[in-house]
């Protein structure tokens, strides 16, 4: 399942896109995120996969630095640690 967490508002598209079929639930991305955006949880079909935390969903574009300034400077981020290319961003 591909899940688009986020929203479109007047200033652009802000979605964190997670492909849960590729996710093995290792949790490395959860530890790598400096903004505490991600968590592991069981989905509706019984798999443990990564998802965006509820509190963050309505402000994804602000909280997640989306490897814009802050995050790209980090040596690790959610995308660099993932071996299966699970997470992408639309901005």
């Amino acid at each position: 399942m591909i899940v688009n967490y986020g929203y479109t508002d007047g200033s652009g598209d802000y979605y964190i896109v997670i492909d849960t079929d590729k996710c093995d639930g290792c949790g490395k991305c959860v530890d790598a995120c400096p903004q505490n955006v991600l968590e592991l949880a069981e989905d509706d079909y019984g798999d443990i996969v990564v998802r965006v935390r509820d509190e963050v969903k309505s402000k994804v574009g602000y909280v997640c630095l989306g490897f814009n300034p802050g995050c790209s400077k980090n040596e690790v981020n959610c995308r660099s640690v993932c071996e299966h290319d699970v997470i992408s961003h639309t901005w």
């Binding site: 899940v3 929203y7 007047g10 309505s58």
Partner: protein
């Protein structure tokens, strides 16, 4: 085996009772301040309609906005998954679902068994939800249920921006001042909302067949504009409100069977 699906939304609560994959009965009640009470009320009504008692229900799945506070539910499942499953039950050929209510808009893609393969939701920006229509109907002083019909009389669309309901509202006010016919303004309003909805649908990908559920399905103006953009005539369900509860009941049935199977293998 009798199971229940309970969907507690922000405006209404629904319960669907199912026996071996067949709908026994359903109920729709208005949501009160206490979602546990709403769930109880909806379920009691559905039980009455089917003339069975609470003890006959073997498994209950809750879904919707208030799903975490249904005390008698065995499991909670998101409204996205339940909606896809329910739509698949009603229309087995459906692959793309647009569910649009007063506060949010969901685009869901599912496979042949109703499993979600891709979804996106907007509940952060009024411009992409039914709320956009509410605001404009109020400015134009026309009843919400009439604006679809009125918009069909338009020969052209007035320009209404789709990015923000507040900005669009001032555009509509100035169009009115200039004497633009209401039908043209409304047609422009529906075009704007369809633009946003179409973008959400494109995010998940559009595949035949396509169904529209939720309150917006009743607005022929929006339905027509969306159909134009998608290039497909949408299916429309008769009881768009209970789609989620049907899905929840189907999940309940599957989970109940699994639980029984486990018990059996344990006792052997």
């Amino acid at each position: 085996m009798i199971v229940a699906g309970v969907d507690i939304g922000s405006l209404s609560g629904e319960t669907v009772l199912m026996r071996d994959g067949e709908i026994l009965s359903y109920s729709i009640v208005r949501t009160g301040a206490d979602s546990a009470k709403t769930a109880e009320k909806a379920t009691d009504e559905a039980l009455d309609n089917a003339s069975i008692s609470f003890g006959d229900i073997e498994y209950t799945v809750a879904t919707g906005y208030g799903r975490v506070i249904v005390p008698f539910a065995d499991k909670n499942i998101t409204e996205i998954s339940c909606h896809a499953r329910g739509a698949n039950y009603l229309f087995p050929t459906v692959r793309t679902i647009l569910d649009m209510g007063g506060q949010d808009c969901k685009a869901i893609k599912c496979n042949d068994v109703g499993k979600v393969t891709n979804f996106a939701m907007n509940d952060k920006c009024a411009a992409g939800t039914g709320r956009f229509c509410d605001v404009m109907a109020e400015v134009l002083d026309e009843p919400l249920e009439d604006i679809g019909r009125i918009s069909l009389e338009a020969e052209r669309d007035a320009m209404v921006s789709s990015a923000c309901a507040v900005f669009a509202k001032s555009e509509v006010v100035s169009l009115l001042r200039k004497g633009t016919p209401k039908s043209e303004i409304l047609s422009g309003v529906h075009e704007a909302i369809a633009t946003r909805v179409f973008a959400l649908l494109q995010r998940v990908g559009i595949e035949a067949d396509f169904v529209i559920t939720g309150g917006i399905a009743k607005n022929i103006g929006v339905v027509r504009k969306v159909a134009e953009k998608v290039g497909m005539n949408p299916l429309i369900s008769d009881e768009p409100q209970i789609v989620g509860a049907i899905g929840a009941a189907l999940f309940a049935e599957e989970l109940c069977k699994k639980a029984k199977h486990k018990d059996r293998s344990k006792s052997q």
